[in-house]
């Protein structure tokens, strides 16, 4: 969580300096992202939306590639083989059916892998959410849907997103359990997700987890949250910062002290600097790169367009 917070802060800074593109901050949602992922084992899948930095780092997506992605290079989504994480999905809610399909495939083969998919409170208004949950319920797939209810979909508050009292209760209509969890308590999320994962592995089907949290940053670096929410509300949630809460818990248990805390942040700073350096020095894609992943084999028309482009730009591609 310290590493994710450091990377997140750095990403916002880099965008402000014009060294990276638009970026959706995760600040305040580290526990919400990490807790559920802790309940997974290697063979399980994570299907993210686009604000899951902490979960992606935990699941083995290289940090420098995540920076590369947000700096505007598709190569940032080229995760190593064996990392069962799909690339970020920007159209809100579309990833839920993917998770149902991924987990159906595991179930059909008799494997015990589950798929954990993240979505936000705004996404719960989309067809992908309702149709996906419905099909997950019918097909009884081992799918865990984590809704990070961070209270806002850009500017629209949760109260204007749905008239339901909770998001968790929506699961009832689809015939499986929904659970509302304190989204800033990493251990509570871990426990809830663990129960959901075990349930899924037993063949009992999906679970919806509503992680009740708060987006401390803007929707993206292009957004200004002060236009739609007050300072007082923000202060209230800053006091519930998931990093602070977990630190206090560990200190109270005698498992953590100031020295370890300082060391963790220092190490995170160093790691992030190295990863950022690697990402920002990565070459831009060549013209070939832009073309060659459209199909398995490049069709003649496309090959011709590439040749023309290269000829007219007077070089072998890239910039």
């Amino acid at each position: 969580m310290v590493l994710a917070r450091t990377a997140d802060t750095k990403a916002v800074t880099l965008q402000r300096q014009g060294r990276m593109g638009a970026y959706p901050p995760s600040r305040g949602q580290e526990a919400s992202q990490l807790g559920p992922a802790l309940a997974l084992t290697d063979g399980d899948w994570v299907i993210p939306g686009f604000r899951e930095l902490t979960a992606l780092i935990w699941r083995g997506a290289p940090l420098w590639r995540l920076f590369l992605f947000w700096s505007g290079n598709e190569e940032g989504s080229l995760y190593p083989d064996g990392v069962n994480v799909t690339p970020s999905v920007i159209p809100v809610g579309d990833q839920i059916p993917h998770a149902v399909g991924v987990s159906y495939a595991s179930k059909l083969r008799g494997e015990d892998a589950v798929a954990l998919v993240y979505i936000g409170d705004g996404g719960t208004s989309q067809g992908g959410f309702h149709e996906g949950l419905n099909m997950a319920g019918v097909l009884k797939t081992p799918t865990i849907v984590v809704c990070q209810n961070n209270q806002y979909a850009i500017s629209v508050p949760r109260s204007q997103q749905t008239a339901s009292r909770t998001i968790a209760q929506k699961a009832v209509a689809y015939g499986f359990p929904g659970i509302l969890v304190d989204g800033n308590d990493v251990l509570a999320l871990y426990v809830a997700a663990k129960a959901a994962v075990e349930r899924a592995r037993r063949g009992e089907g999906p679970t919806l987890i509503e992680s009740y949290t708060y987006r401390l940053g803007d929707h993206t670096t292009s957004d200004d949250a002060s236009r739609y929410r007050g300072e007082e509300e923000l202060r209230k949630w800053e006091a519930k910062d998931p990093l602070k809460r977990f630190r206090l818990y560990l200190e109270a248990k005698g498992l953590w002290d100031q020295g370890q805390e300082d060391e963790a942040w220092k190490e995170a700073e160093k790691t992030v600097e190295e990863e950022v350096e690697r990402a920002l020095s990565h070459p831009a894609p060549s013209a070939e790169d832009v073309f060659r992943f459209t199909y398995e084999t490049m069709p003649p028309e496309l090959a011709e367009q590439l040749e023309t482009l290269k000829r007219e730009s007077g070089e072998g591609g890239g910039d």
């Binding site: 598709e74 989504s77 993917h98 992908g128 069709p299």
Partner: protein
């Protein structure tokens, strides 16, 4: 070999592929117990079970979205959309994900799915059941779009589509489902994607079409032929990526061309074919390239469909205009 209509040929392709490869699953509305509304998937659930032949809830977006997820995790789904007019509900999943995940993941992931759908008019159906909006799909990079014209073609092309590593939109001409029967191999065989078929050779005019237009073109061609106009007929088969080389080679030989489709004229695939002929064979042209297409109106209900649908007579007249220019 066996006599089959197109429904039987597609069924035969699905069955043979599912026998060969346990990762192939079929999903869609009514594809299981009912065997599909056109009976294309008849008997598959009895043979392969409900795990591999899935009667889904009524959600086109989710049928395609779930297929994408299945493909990401090692399955090869063949999804059925009941009619092309309902495929628009799944356009988001097709355009934003199926077509892009190979590129998005820089080649680490890919989406080998086939989305089958009956398309086209001429079957006296309700609204939304006669659409021919293939150009919506051919505009999307990363998709392949295939439209067979005969039973044998359907089996060979579907088999290739299932084995292809990219997402394929497979357009089945509803009007041709039971129109004719022909000899089809009972064993598996493939017809490569991306290559057109020269149905007949000729010297005076090239006619390009696909799917349900082919029998109409053949009728028009016979009439023109009887009057001494030698027509070369190309069945495009794969609409994207298009085999433009064969069209260009043919037009260079004949100098005249007619493109036929049942989609609206404006921005129809015919416009692209004309553009490619212009780019590569302009100096061989002896006449403007003719387009026989539907007008730019909503597909009429059956009573008005004759105003809309290309007829052998309209195709014949276009051939004559091109020949006599």
């Amino acid at each position: 070999m066996a006599q089959m209509n197109m429904v039987q040929a597609i069924n035969s392709a699905l069955r043979a592929e599912m026998e060969r490869d346990a990762s192939i699953v079929v999903l869609g509305e009514d594809v299981g117990v009912d065997g599909g509304v056109f009976r294309v998937t008849e008997g598959l659930i009895e043979r392969f079970g409900p795990g591999r032949v899935i009667d889904t809830p009524l959600s086109e977006a989710c049928i395609v979205g779930v297929s994408i997820g299945m493909a990401l995790n090692g399955l090869r789904p063949v999804a059925e959309i009941q009619f092309m007019g309902f495929s628009y509900l799944a356009l988001d999943q097709v355009i934003n994900h199926a077509a892009r995940i190979r590129n998005r993941s820089r080649g680490r992931l890919h989406v080998p799915i086939v989305v089958r759908m009956p398309y086209g008019g001429g079957i006296k159906a309700l609204e939304h059941h006669s659409e021919s909006t293939e150009a919506l799909y051919t505009q999307v990079p990363g998709l392949k779009v295939v439209a067979p014209s005969t039973p044998r073609e359907a089996k060979g092309l579907l088999t290739s589509s299932i084995r292809d590593q990219d997402p394929v939109i497979f357009l089945e001409p509803t009007r041709s489902y039971r129109l004719l029967r022909e000899e089809v191999e009972e064993d598996e065989f493939t017809i490569p994607l991306g290559r057109s078929r020269t149905v007949r050779e000729g010297d005076d005019v090239t006619v390009v079409g696909w799917g349900a237009m082919m029998p109409l073109i053949e009728e028009a061609t016979r009439r023109a032929d009887g009057e001494g106009v030698s027509v070369e007929v190309i069945d495009l088969r794969t609409l994207s990526p298009m085999d433009s080389a064969s069209i260009v080679a043919s037009v260079k030989k004949t100098g005249r061309a007619v493109v036929v489709h049942e989609a609206p004229k404006t921005c129809g695939l015919g416009a692209e074919i004309v553009a490619r002929i212009n780019e590569k064979a302009l100096l061989s042209l002896e006449a403007p390239v003719e387009r026989v297409a539907a007008p730019d109106v909503t597909v009429p209900l059956p009573k008005g469909e004759h105003h809309y649908y290309p007829s052998p007579d309209r195709i014949y007249r276009a051939i004559r205009r091109a020949a006599e220019f």
